[in-house]
């Protein structure tokens, strides 16, 4: 039973800094497996938080020392090069515990803030979301996992043959590479998707969240499935996990941390081994189609 929760601040809260730290400490203490840096709407949908998540992730990961920490970001307004760069660093500095959650919801707010040039018909939003993910991953793939050598005696820092331009060209994004950041420890940080937010993507996610209907309606293809529950639906959710319909619960609502603490009293955290979160979750390492590695 995996347990997931989201965390954000209110812009009008004068004590927001202290409150965020206290919440993070409680969540760490309770033993969450996933923490989403995202704003949860009353309707149970996620949108990017008031606190920019890519910057917040490496800071809050110090207090959230064990879970996967996931940055929610506006999928159609983010720039692959910047996101690939920042999440590479975040994945290194969390020893492979970083995730990303590209979201379409909350779009109007971001459309306005980014300007008219960014307005898109709804049908194009999922296509742009997919293109954004492909371009970002192509930049991570501009480095092989084992490119770094770091041999002070010989002076070999890296293997030049294991870094290359990828010249990615998609319908919305083009990016040359190589990235000025090494391939993250997880290969690709965990891709998390809110199925209530993105429907019809052609890219499988590593972790998916949604209601029971959503989770039943998709081909999760080996993804970790997290069922969204509130205080009113948590028992029903536990039954569905026992029945194999999901691997864990994402708790939402004003008393989400209480829910998390209560659940953890019943479900001991599963011991797992592996150098990164991806390995501990039993998810396959992503292939690198750009790698020219010759089999030995």
């Amino acid at each position: 039973m995996y347990l997931s929760i989201s965390i954000d601040v209110s812009p009008r809260d004068g004590a927001a800094f202290a409150r965020l730290g206290q919440q993070a400490d409680r969540i760490e203490q309770a033993g969450a497996d996933f923490v989403l840096l995202a704003h949860e709407t009353g309707a149970g949908t996620l949108e990017p938080g008031r606190l920019e998540a890519v910057v917040t992730l490496p800071w809050i990961a110090r207090r959230l020392a064990t879970p996967v920490v996931v940055a929610a970001l506006p999928a159609v307004h983010s720039v692959p090069f910047h996101i690939a760069r920042a999440l590479s660093a975040a994945d290194f500095l969390t020893s492979g515990r970083a995730g990303w959650l590209p979201l379409l919801h909350g779009g109007a707010r971001f459309d306005a803030a980014y300007g008219d040039a960014y307005h898109l018909p709804p049908g194009d939003r999922v296509a742009k979301h997919d293109d954004f993910i492909r371009a970002t991953r192509a930049l991570w793939d501009s480095w092989d996992q084992d490119a770094l050598i770091l041999n002070k005696d010989s002076g070999a820092y890296l293997d030049s043959a294991k870094v290359r331009r990828v010249d990615y060209r998609g319908p919305f994004f083009a990016t040359m590479g190589p990235l000025n950041a090494a391939r993250p420890p997880q290969g690709h940080p965990l891709l998390v998707r809110d199925l209530d937010d993105v429907a019809g993507s052609t890219i499988p996610a590593d972790v998916v969240l949604g209601g029971a209907d959503r989770l039943a309606g998709v081909d999760a293809r080996g993804a970790v499935r997290l069922l969204k529950v509130t205080a009113a639906t948590v028992e029903q959710g536990e039954a569905l996990v026992r029945a194999g319909k999901a691997e864990g619960l994402h708790v939402a609502g004003p008393d989400a941390i209480d829910q998390l603490e209560a659940l953890r009293r019943h479900y001991t955290r599963q011991p797992a081994t592996g150098a990164t979160a991806r390995a501990r979750l039993g998810l396959a390492a992503p292939a690198n189609p750009y790698s020219k590695k010759v089999p030995a």
Partner: protein
């Protein structure tokens, strides 16, 4: 207030593994630690204990490759500056945190949101080193064929800063008087701003590094602190006077902006030992490394040419990624002097980025800094350790206390925000 803050300001410019390209190979260097959280946490605490104003990370928006070949002997990559500073914010409570961010390949909404977050998690210690992007490979990473022309880059930069400021002012509940113009103009068409949580410093401290006339005007208009190379006291004083003059012409108070020239350094107990360390780190930059280093600076893969021959200028200028006329101007002296590629590249790698380099004892370094301050050449220094982390450790342990004993450097921070450290101003 300013006396308690000290007359001399210190910024730590911590690029990767240090100033010298061969620095990652010295005995005490820890190139693997650069990818680990503990390394940044330890450095941040050390810099705060030494009472620096701020930590600064540079940035680029391109890989380090020359014509597609990534160097194999240079210490790359550098990690994303926001990420490093966010980690450092978690283990410090006073030292400023300055991220270098380009106005050329970003949008005001995203940059405003990131600095609002850094300002929030650090409780008001964020700074923005505002740069424009000039590397010819950068536009390709953003789907653009070529760079913006120079004056357009600076026009966009000014418009960008104004737009970002409108976001921060709006979020702080004090909308800018010119918000409508700042958000809708030739460069941007922004219909609404974003909600950010507030911090004790409503916006990051604005930092600039203007060299050209356009750059100096931009700095004089907006910057609260300015980086510059200054090889001599006279050069420093000339730059400072020029910026002050430009600021006065724009109606700004020059005492509200600090001039912080770069200063790389290598320290030892004796001058002879420091010289030996300097020679050693230069030797560690072997010919292959130096050739890669210059290759990156012109966007041409020199590693494919015979190292014992002079530069084939026409061949290089026909294919290099940097503007051919600049590359020709840069390489011609070496060709005229009859230098081989290896010799010319070694010369080039000895003085990275044109900054002043100090080699000597802690006492001598403190003397030098005091002399520069007394001569009005600067307000402090942007220090670049020769290599990391050991040279920074030496500075913090041996030079910073000397500066404090001489009353030049604060013993305690006088306020919580970065702006407090620069200008001695407390929050209203």
């Amino acid at each position: 207030m300013s006396r308690e803050n000290g007359r001399l300001h210190l910024w730590a410019f911590l690029q990767g593994i240090g100033f010298f390209p061969g620095g990652w190979r010295v005995e005490k260097a820890t190139p693997d630690a650069v990818f680990q959280r503990a390394y940044y946490e330890r450095i941040a605490r050390m810099v705060e204990d030494a009472r620096f104003d701020a930590i600064v990370f540079g940035d680029q928006l391109q890989g380090r490759d020359a014509a597609g070949r990534t160097p194999g002997r240079l210490a790359i990559p550098t990690l994303d500056p926001f990420t490093l500073l966010a980690v450092m914010a978690g283990v410090t409570s006073r030292v400023g945190l300055v991220a270098t961010v380009s106005t050329t390949y970003n949008e005001p909404a995203e940059v405003a949101a990131k600095f609002a977050a850094l300002n929030f998690i650090s409780e008001g210690r964020a700074g923005w080193n505002i740069v424009t992007t000039v590397h010819p490979n950068s536009p390709w990473n953003f789907g653009e064929p070529e760079l913006l022309e120079k004056s357009a880059r600076y026009a966009r930069a000014q418009a960008f800063v104004d737009a970002a400021d409108a976001f921060w002012r709006q979020a702080a509940g004090h909308p800018a008087a010119n918000a409508a113009d700042a958000l809708r103009n030739q460069w941007f068409d922004i219909a609404g701003t974003l909600d950010f949580p507030t911090s004790p410093q409503y916006r990051p401290v604005l930092v600039q590094a203007g060299q050209s006339p356009d750059g100096r005007n931009f700095a004089a208009q907006s910057a609260e602190a300015i980086f510059c190379p200054a090889p001599t006291i006279d050069a420093g004083r000339a730059y400072r006077d020029d910026i002050h003059e430009r600021a006065r012409a724009l109606g700004r108070d020059p005492s509200k902006m600090l001039i912080m020239p770069g200063l790389a350094f290598i320290l030892a107990d004796t001058e002879e030992e420091a010289q030996r360390k300097h020679r050693h780190v230069l030797e560690l930059a072997d010919d292959q490394l130096c050739i890669e280093y210059l290759s990156e600076s012109i966007g041409y893969d020199l590693t494919r040419l015979p190292a014992n021959q002079p530069f084939p200028l026409d061949e290089i200028c026909a294919a290099c990624e940097f503007p051919a006329e600049d590359v020709r101007r840069m390489l011609t002296p070496a060709v005229e002097a009859g230098l081989s590629i290896a010799d010319a590249c070694r010369d080039y790698a000895r003085k990275p980025r044109g900054h002043a380099i100090f080699v000597g004892t802690p006492e001598q370094m403190a003397d030098r800094m005091e002399t520069w301050i007394d001569a009005g050449a600067c307000d402090g220094f942007t220090l670049q350790p020769g290599y990391m982390p050991s040279e920074l450790e030496l500075f913090c342990a041996h030079v910073a206390p000397l500066l404090q004993q001489r009353g030049l450097l604060r013993r305690e921070y006088q306020g919580p925000t970065l702006r407090d450290h620069l200008l001695g101003e407390f929050r209203a």
